[in-house]
């Protein structure tokens, strides 16, 4: 098929041919699986011909005597690859999406195959994959979200950040979200980077958004938005915010907006600055500056944003119609302990805020997609030891489903390298029997065909990609995402 490498990889260690690079290949293939609620499973089928050496540049100094041409097949629930890089990264962060070029180079490697529109757990089971392949790696991310568990959570106007982000990023399942942007104040629960993304998209000038790959329906909805004020609410204090400085700086510099915070929340913070690690210190200094209003205030700033600390949600309050949101009741906290380990303890006091929209950004959550795979429902991860799942040889996990749903691309990438190392160690140690013959994709695809599943190849995705870029060019944007699986399939198989 069309596996020609188009241009030399921009990313170090892309598909080369020497011994060390076979390890490199396996390691990089993990990158493709950082997924947003999609079932991406990587499976290795080792070729029938094993001879000579496997390099071991990353698994220590050991060498073993068999050269393996590792074949990697990726299974992805949606017709389109890339997971969170496509559906999670904010539209105004295009440079973060550059990593797609690297992933593409890997996917185009002759020993890598992509099969989209295949739901593992639905269209094919993990057990079938384990029969067809020497090893199966589960890296399907965190498709669900943590529930608030409070009254009013299901009122109109209350959304999970997962759904809201999915909406503006074109995740097919969130197409019909139609968030209610008609009230002046929106409350975001949570103070991580996702919360800041949501606040920033709600308050960004349209001039900025309309040059991004945000979806057209979202752009139109935001053009009509009445939201002027976003409160970013967290249980703990300024020293415990989970966001990082780049995202905070973007808020501070957001045109047409100004910070609006209560300086009493920052009492005592300035005096501990010198004891903080550099990253936390710089973040806290910037937060302090914003709160004190020393940060630049643009002329004509009509929109406001602010962090609201030491508040936990108790109840979302309905309006008179009993179906939409009118406000939120919050418990007032104090902190016990300090720094990262500080705990929020309710004081008994409550506070009510008027708002028409509540976006809950308290964390994603992995789901159990196949009952045959062990799952820790409390931590919402697949129990594992350095990526090895303890149900016999050949089952692994990596990424958010392995460690929990936090971390930037680099964190998850390095975690994937760890899982790849475990797998390669197991090959070297003979834990995975590379000499047994496995049918690989042949078996899986014939099952899929018999079940009427129309899988999508990487070159089919490239057709979808071209079409999205073409539609985007017509309106002066990088791409216009296709929002509908049926249409994706139509374009893919045209």
């Amino acid at each position: 098929p069309n596996k020609s490498a188009k241009s030399p990889p921009r990313y170090c260690g892309g598909p080369p041919s020497n011994r060390k690079s076979q390890l490199g290949l396996a390691l990089f293939l993990n990158l493709l699986s950082r997924s947003f609620g999609n079932s991406v499973h990587r499976s290795w089928r080792l070729s029938d011909y094993c001879s000579t050496e496997v390099g071991a540049s990353h698994t220590g100094r050991s060498h073993c005597q068999s050269r393996l041409d590792i074949q990697v097949d990726l299974f992805e629930r949606l017709p389109v690859p890339f997971g969170l890089v496509r559906f999670g990264v904010a539209p105004d962060h295009p440079e973060v999406k550059n990593v797609i070029n690297t992933f593409t180079q890997t996917a185009l490697h002759e020993r890598c195959n992509f099969f989209g529109n295949v739901g593992v757990g639905k269209d094919v089971s993990v057990a079938e994959l384990r029969q067809a392949y020497h090893a199966v790696v589960l890296s399907y991310g965190a498709e669900g979200n943590r529930r608030l568990g409070i009254p009013g959570e299901d009122l109109r106007g209350v959304y999970s950040a997962k759904d809201f982000v999915g909406w503006y990023n074109g995740l097919p399942g969130n197409k019909e979200l139609r968030p209610d942007l008609s009230s002046e104040t929106a409350v975001v629960l949570g103070q991580g980077n996702v919360a800041l993304d949501v606040a920033r998209i709600l308050l960004s000038p349209l001039d900025i958004l309309k040059k991004t790959d945000i979806t057209q329906p979202s752009l139109e909805a935001l053009a009509e938005s009445q939201v002027q004020r976003v409160l970013i609410v967290g249980r703990r204090g300024p020293l415990q915010v989970a966001c990082t400085i780049k995202e905070l700086r973007e808020m501070v510099n957001l045109p047409g907006t100004m910070p609006d915070m209560v300086t009493t929340d920052f009492e005592g913070v300035a005096s501990v600055l010198k004891d903080l690690s550099r990253p936390r210190k710089r973040l806290t200094e910037l937060l302090l500056k914003a709160a004190q209003g020393a940060a630049s205030r643009q002329a004509g700033a009509s929109r406001q944003w602010g962090f609201h600390f030491l508040r936990s949600p108790l109840e979302i309050l309905p309006a008179d119609d009993l179906t939409s949101t009118a406000g939120i009741r919050l418990a007032v906290n104090v902190l016990e302990g300090s720094h990262e380990g500080a705990r929020a303890v309710p004081t008994g006091e409550v506070e009510e805020l008027k708002c028409g929209m509540v976006i809950s950004s308290i964390g994603y959550r992995s789901l159990c997609i196949d009952p045959a795979v062990p799952f820790d429902h409390h931590k919402a991860i697949i129990p594992n030891t350095v990526g090895r799942v303890q149900t016999g040889a050949g089952l692994y996990c990596s990424g958010w489903v392995k460690r929990g749903p936090t971390g930037v691309i680099a964190t998850t990438m390095n975690d994937s390298f760890d899982t790849a190392r475990s797998l390669l160690q197991d090959i070297e140690a003979g834990v995975i029997d590379v000499y047994s013959v496995k049918p690989g994709s042949r078996a899986v695809l014939s099952s899929l065909d018999s079940r009427g599943v129309k899988w999508v190849s990487f070159s089919d995705w490239e057709k979808i990609d071209k079409e999205e870029v073409r539609r985007g060019q017509r309106v002066g944007r990088p791409r216009e995402k296709i929002l509908d699986v049926a249409e994706m399939l139509r374009v893919a198989h045209s």
Partner: protein, 209 residues
Amino acid sequence: MNKQYYICVWGHCDSGTKTLFSFLSLKMSSACIRRTLVAVSQSFIPSSCNFLAFGLHFSPSPAARDRQTAYTNNRRFSSFTRILRSENKVTVNFINRDGQKITVKAAPGDSLLDVVIEQNLDIDGFGACEGTLACSTCHLIFEEDVYNKLGPITDEEMDMLDLAYGLTDTSRLGCQICLTKSLEGITVRVPDSAVDIRQPTDAGTSSSA
């Protein structure tokens, strides 16, 4: 993406003759441009000549240009000059994560990320965001005296460096450090990237980046 580059190569030999070698209009990625110019210099220009290559980039379309200059603190240089005289190379040593030392020669003006990419060095996971200050995967550790000689660090670089695993007082991002003759012979260390399950993860960062 590929940008339209207009290349002017101007040079003169030690004998004093000034010659305009060529004026080319090429559409390719910036990495390819550099590679092409390096290849041209190595094949066609005798070492007794000095020359300068200018590359200017014009965005082919408003959409691409706007995306490039869109609201972000990460502006990229859109033009570069390169001194391609073959003796004007700078030797750089990389100590890889496995302890292996890799010694290369690179052109002044190249960033350390450029060097790793162009010479296809075997460093896993290096340069994910392609030099746009949106990740920390080109994190390198310098010797103290070299670190003190490096150019100033911007807030944007520090913001990303703050997320790097194994941050030290002499850490910089490789995509922001451009080689000069004064950096001849330096040794940089590629820090460990492994996330050891016994260690706590980096402070609660979540998914947007």
